[in-house]
Subunit: 331 residues, 2 copies
């Protein structure tokens, strides 16, 4: 009898999904159990990872369509990483699409797991978000603070978390919803997300490009690197969740840091020439949006379970240079 | 031009629904605006209230069926009291029915409001529940405490609240979700709800009948009378909700009281003969369920908005005697 793992990743073509699959293939195992099968799905075709010697199934589909959830579960994966979602900006721009993908799609997947039989009880790792929270906040947000989102995306994540907790309590799955910090430094090109500048002001100057800073340097946020986000997912897949009781949604660790501190770290790592590439262009709209975002958490439950993030922004910068720029800066 | 109100009540045949309609007909107005039309619906035919001189439409239907939400809104009611729900015990016993009625039904109603046009923005008063909370708790639960339900019913209420808040923020409705305390004294006959004894031990002895107490007298709960619950609903229909921001779900005031204090009040009002009709029959299952329920809230937001409940259990008893027993005890 094999004890190898079958792992499903929805949203496998997204930024976090790609990095997760790369990590899984590199590790070849989770908590000592070999990964023998990978099922990867997304709305666009997921990249087939090089070097994987197990069974690989990869397909493009809208997972909120009838039958797709069942297709995802055909091989009865032991671990389900449910990352697929319409992002915040799009969920706000298209209300119906956001609810269809982020709420209905999640519910179809969870229902398919429930209906797959009493003996099937996979570990389900669902990515929730710092967007599940909404101002006003205390100075430090603890694990018991209410989820009061100020976006449709955040609302859909809150509803998905509630369903996951209920289905876990009822024995249909063994779920955990991890609320990711704002991810920084995001690779790729600048986008129009209100949070984009947290990454843009680092990523672009590191390669000699100008970046726009639309808010004051005093703006504080809760950040973690893409590598930490993948680390949270892999850790969540293997640990004993019984200590959580039925409260299976929890905020992940991160770094509370100001934009000014980010820029100071950039200067230390890449020099003042890089810092000079940041152009101040105050934007009242973005400043107002960002003012409603959490600044600092006290994520004791996640820390007690062994989740870890970066301790300084210099660490976050080094992760970006290692993972995206080949480990060195061209200066 | 008339400024009269059109009011819709879903769940109008339920205990709270009947009392709400009776109150609306007796008052004839909300906050000075005359009630000129009532639309009443429930899965069983709602009672037609005597004395109402306006337009009355009343029908029995499963409001989660296609087209029913639109039928509810045909007259574009100014105020929607959304009370219809499968109760806690049934939602736990029948998972799919609970989600179909309590989540899908609520969503169909809210979507029908959203799709009725940009100019239609009714006040929506949605009854949530103390069941939206789940242990472990601090000694006193404040307005920022997380909703972590331990029943499917509570989960469905949390999801309905989230949707209401998002649709309100997006301008589709002007919603408020009021979390009702445990209602005591419930009229009628003893039922099998785990919370039934809070009412049974008062209602039955007051009319010379024996009642069973399955828990210790030290058990503490958060109670309000049916009259207070109706008062919350009517108050929620008329007040300015802008002070709530987009956090439109809130715990209602109540009385934190032990079973022993309930029994002492019964003795003061109805004498020791009534108290002797309470038979102790400890039940480990019910005791364990009740141990996970909230004991005390600090509902500052609701109090600041003018919501009020009883201050003593003697008051709750007097409400029951007034409203259900004609104002006097037969002794």
């Amino acid at each position: 009898m094999s004890t190898g793992l079958h792992i499903l990743v929805t949203g496998a073509a997204g930024m976090i999904g790609r990095k997760l699959v790369t990590r899984l293939v590199a590790d070849g195992a989770i908590a000592g159990r070999p990964i023998e099968a990978l099922s990867l799905t997304d709305i666009i075709p997921p990249t087939t990872p090089p070097g994987f010697t197990g069974t690989l199934v990869s397909w493009a589909a809208d997972f909120s369509q009838p039958g797709e959830a069942e297709r995802c579960l055909a091989g009865r994966p032991d671990i389900v990483f449910h990352l697929a979602a319409i992002v915040s900006g799009e969920a706000e721009a298209d209300l119906e699409k956001g609810y269809r993908i982020n709420l209905d799609g999640t519910r179809l997947l969870f229902d398919a797991i429930r209906l797959a039989g009493e003996k099937y009880r996979p570990r389900v790792v669902f990515t929730s978000s710092v967007g599940a929270y909404g101002a006003p906040f205390p100075a430090v947000i603890d694990d018991d603070f209410a989820l009061t989102p100020l976006t449709s995306y955040g609302t859909q994540k809150v509803m998905g978390e509630a369903l996951l907790c209920d289905y876990t309590r009822r024995g249909c799955m063994d779920g955990i919803a991890i609320r990711l910090p704002t991810i920084c430094v995001r690779p790729g090109v600048p986008n129009k997300a209100a949070s984009g500048f947290f990454s843009n002001i680092i990523r672009e100057p590191l390669v000699g490009q100008e970046a726009v800073l639309p808010v004051a340097e005093t703006v504080r946020s809760w950040l973690a690197s893409p590598r930490s986000a993948v680390g949270f997912l892999v850790h969540a897949a293997a640990i004993d969740l019984a200590p959580l009781g039925w409260r299976r949604g929890l905020m992940m660790p991160g770094l509370s840091v100001t934009v000014g501190e980010q820029i100071a770290a950039l200067g230390r790592v890449a020099g003042e020439a890089a810092v000079k590439l940041i152009r101040r262009a105050p934007d009242a709209t973005i400043s107002a949006i960002v003012a409603g975002w959490p600044e600092r958490f006290d994520p004791q439950r996640a820390i007690a379970l062994g989740f870890r993030a970066e301790a300084t922004f210099d660490d976050i910068l080094k992760v970006h240079i290692d993972d995206e720029l080949g480990g060195t800066l061209l200066r």
